[in-house]
Symmetry: C2
Subunit: 534 residues, 2 copies
């Protein structure tokens, strides 16, 4: 693919490499591999088994067609169309990978299942470069990609390559806990930056950096930011390109490397509307219009090469692929590869071959069509989930911020099992309060629910974390499992935090989701107004 020659090259960011990263050598045996590709050499150097000894002759897969999910399908996990098509074997493609390639460019098990370069298999690399070029459009010339084994592997390598023990990284106040669990044992802690409905706040970031006192903080000013800008885990927030630009400019000023962990990028479901005001869905978008409808990535404004973008096939194909990639500057890429070859060596060969075969079968435009269908399915699930809240709770719009509405959720008094007690105890208007509030997410898989613990009768005696755990226990007793907010705290959970729950609408069967939300309402009613409180 032709790089755009007018774009600038990445600037030198080698001062960001950790001591460990600087100390890495090219794995000595891998060094020989530069010769292994030379057709003119008879190689008896590498410890490779003969591919005739692999027990796998051929691998085949039946896969969905790219358009199995209509972009405007009704609310089912699998559309009616595709369920019917299933009976007739339509809506399906076949892929086959044989031991030996028939012609150059064909995938083969002899290559895919052999030891290979840690950078990944050439066929898959080419497809990924096209995807980055077509969709993310990095703003510098010499961007590169490197295949990794999923974003957890990607972030793990980024931490080891960019951070030294004692360093502090920038993170949203609520963030993905496994990311913090990867860095914390290495002596790398997070400083929490305040966020709002649009993600990390640029003013809070500027304040944190400009007022950083190394002595007082006991650590040098942060050099690395961890961020999930789309469908943030756990809050579900999505950052606009305007906010990204403001944050990028601050990162240029303070020389920060941005690690953009973006697994939910294609699940940009758009605004939620209550059923009674939901607009009739517009006609199908084109691929171009779909791409234009997505908030651009940080790499699209990255003219210096200071963004390390992490992409994953976990949400667009399947988590078990353990496959994704870095988009970053060539210097970081080379160190990430060095680290990979002494840990996972390379992503799994079955996975690389099967995902490559799938993407070759669909083509790049076919893959984008698949993503459009997937976004449609997640939108239906998101809508269904919030609709269930509107049924089980009395929802009132509280604040409206731009297009984004926050809803307060009240217990439905008319249906309360405690109505008699209520009439006796909670009839004053002041006593009736919202038990939850949330903003319907515009992307991703998660609903982040603030619980109104300060209105709980025991809030003066019990801390918020205590109440959160009590509530969680009551949910489990009632047969539902929700993620407690406290585990998402970037730098430790204080009792000044409001208290939250994270609910996922991506996985449960829809009747289960509906039932679980109904149960939540019943448990919350009892928790706030039930026997315990009377």
């Amino acid at each position: 693919m032709a790089y755009d020659m007018k774009l600038p090259d990445a600037i030198d960011l080698s001062h960001h490499l950790s001591e460990v990263a600087r100390a890495r050598e090219i794995s000595p045996l891998k060094d020989l591999q530069q010769y292994l590709g030379r057709d003119d050499l008879l190689s008896i150097a590498g410890g490779l088994p003969h591919p005739d000894f692999f027990p796998f002759d051929k691998i085949s897969a039946t896969v969905y067609s790219k358009d199995v999910f209509p972009t405007d399908s009704p609310v089912t996990t699998l559309s009616l169309f595709s369920r019917i098509a299933q009976f007739f074997g339509k809506g399906r493609d076949e892929i086959n990978i044989k031991r030996y390639a028939k012609q150059a460019g064909d995938l083969s098990l002899a290559e895919s299942l052999q030891y290979g370069l840690s950078s990944g298999q050439p066929g898959l690399q080419g497809i990924i470069r096209e995807i980055v070029h077509r969709i993310y459009k990095p703003a510098y010339r010499d961007w590169t990609i490197l295949i990794h084994s999923g974003n957890t592997d990607g972030w793990g390598r980024a931490v080891m390559t960019l951070c030294d023990p004692g360093d502090v990284i920038l993170a949203c106040e609520w963030t993905y806990p496994s990311a913090m669990a990867a860095s914390r044992p290495l002596g790398i802690t997070a400083v929490s930056v305040a966020a709002d409905e649009g993600g990390m706040r640029s003013d809070a970031l500027l304040e944190t950096l400009s007022s950083w006192d190394e002595k007082e903080r006991g650590a040098p000013r942060p050099r690395v930011m961890y961020t999930i800008p789309v469908g943030q885990n756990p809050t579900g927030s999505t950052m606009s390109i305007e906010r990204k630009k403001r944050i990028y400019d601050i990162c240029v000023e303070y020389d920060i490397v941005i690690v953009e962990d973006d697994p939910y990028y294609f699940l940009q479901e758009g605004q939620y509307h209550l059923p009674q005001v939901r607009p009739v869905e517009s006609k199908e978008l084109s691929n171009d219009a779909f791409i234009a409808s997505l908030v651009p990535s940080y790499v699209s404004i990255d003219y210096q090469g200071r963004v390390v973008r992490l992409d994953s096939f976990s949400k667009t194909v399947a988590p078990g692929c353990r496959l994704g990639w870095f988009t970053c500057n060539p210097l970081f890429r080379e160190r990430f590869e060095r680290q990979g070859e002494t840990s996972v060596q390379a992503a799994c060969g079955f996975s690389q071959a099967l995902v490559a075969a799938l993407l070759m079968k669909w083509g790049i435009e076919g893959y984008i069509r698949w993503l459009r269908g997937l976004r449609g399915q997640y939108r239906k699930r998101r809508d269904f989930c919030i609709d269930c809240f509107a049924e089980s709770f009395e929802l009132k719009a509280s604040t409206v911020n731009g297009h984004q509405t926050t809803y307060d959720g009240y217990i439905r008094r008319e249906e309360s099992t405690y109505s008699k007690r209520w009439q006796e105890n909670f009839m004053g208007t002041d006593d009736f309060f919202p038990v939850i509030s949330f903003m319907p997410p515009t992307s991703g898989m998660f609903l982040w629910i603030q619980v109104n613990f300060q209105a709980h009768p025991s809030s003066s005696q019990s801390g918020k974390k205590d109440l959160e755990l009590q509530l969680l226990k009551k949910f489990v007793d009632a047969g539902i499992l929700v993620a407690p907010g406290s585990i998402f705290s970037a730098d430790g959970y204080g009792d000044d935090s409001p208290g939250h729950l994270r609910l996922s609408f991506s996985n449960a069967e829809l009747p289960v989701l509906k039932k679980a939300i109904g149960t939540m309402a019943a448990v919350l009613e009892k928790f706030f107004y039930g026997e315990d409180q009377l």
Copy 2:
């Protein structure tokens, strides 16, 4: 499976955990997964995509039958029998994995491609436990297994979990360089222990440990040993169980954790015999006799649980599986799992499912039958390789150590292109010297060739490493690629080292291997006796 209740439990080795390992917490989200398996809970907690969204409906594979390789097949990479069988579709099995399981215990893509426990998929875990029980027979009661992403991942986790920066590990003087490349950047260096034809020498180990002077060495006495006891990389040596017992006892005395990296365990090819004295092959062994013919693993004598055994499917199935497992005590296992869940999370789901399906199709006894066939194939390759040396060089047995013969390789004078010059220059008996010497390996994939650099005319002016690189360059110019010995040095290459080449007989087509060895002879002749030297 019933554990043997008479065996002792592992002793407490928690003092061996590194600072990083001690600091690891259970990944907070994974903590929730203890509830995820509870059938009575409706889970809306985890960020799992719905399995209806995975594009893969079904994966099928055509695989070899367990007995496709006769244990006593002729010298072909694929036996005549199986080549014929190929035409009729015999010698093949089919495996199928569907999106949803039809009955409990069936593999399914919905589970295999979903986020799962870092410990690996239950079906595969059960099979691996059976393999360990049947073949390796650990000598303590509470041994455990943990699936990893190949032995490089396994060793990487062992280093991070057991070693702190500044620690020194014990390694053979010649060892696998990628293992050292994983530990060195973390500030963990190796002390080289002398080895002979039977692997690491126990007297050298005892000397190293008993004379360790922390002040002089600038590091505490080593606590961890890295060893490849079977078909050692690069030397091809295999350690007897008697030697293992002596080394294990020293490790008990000095409180050393042994990391046994054993990917070549099933490639125990046995003694090499020159073609003219090669015994007629005995009739096929039974599975029991095959297992009894293998040198036992360190875990078979490990009554304290101080061995971390690393197994890999890279040589028994295919490297691209990126799949293997730890066998170790429960304390280490738990920390290895913690480290895994913040790096690779879990081994690839395609790989776990396909390997599990293969092993289920074959059964444990079928897998052992497959390993017998594989050993037969590698034995043929090993024999073919040494036979080529016997053709291209004049081989003379020099030293015989028990059953093991070392051969000196002389240039075949009668065929020399330099015969006239030889008559003029090298006619004295003293001037005619072996250019190489080697011991045919009894296991693995490698032949370790010592080159007689001290007999080279320039040996007084050039260092050994210099000569090694000069020779390597001449090989490349002549069209062959061999691994230089220097890259296998555990702790830096000195000019007091004799100088070696590592040749692999596992991968090249047999005519290529033959041609390459012929070329080696020609290059060595010119290197030692050719124009340059006259």
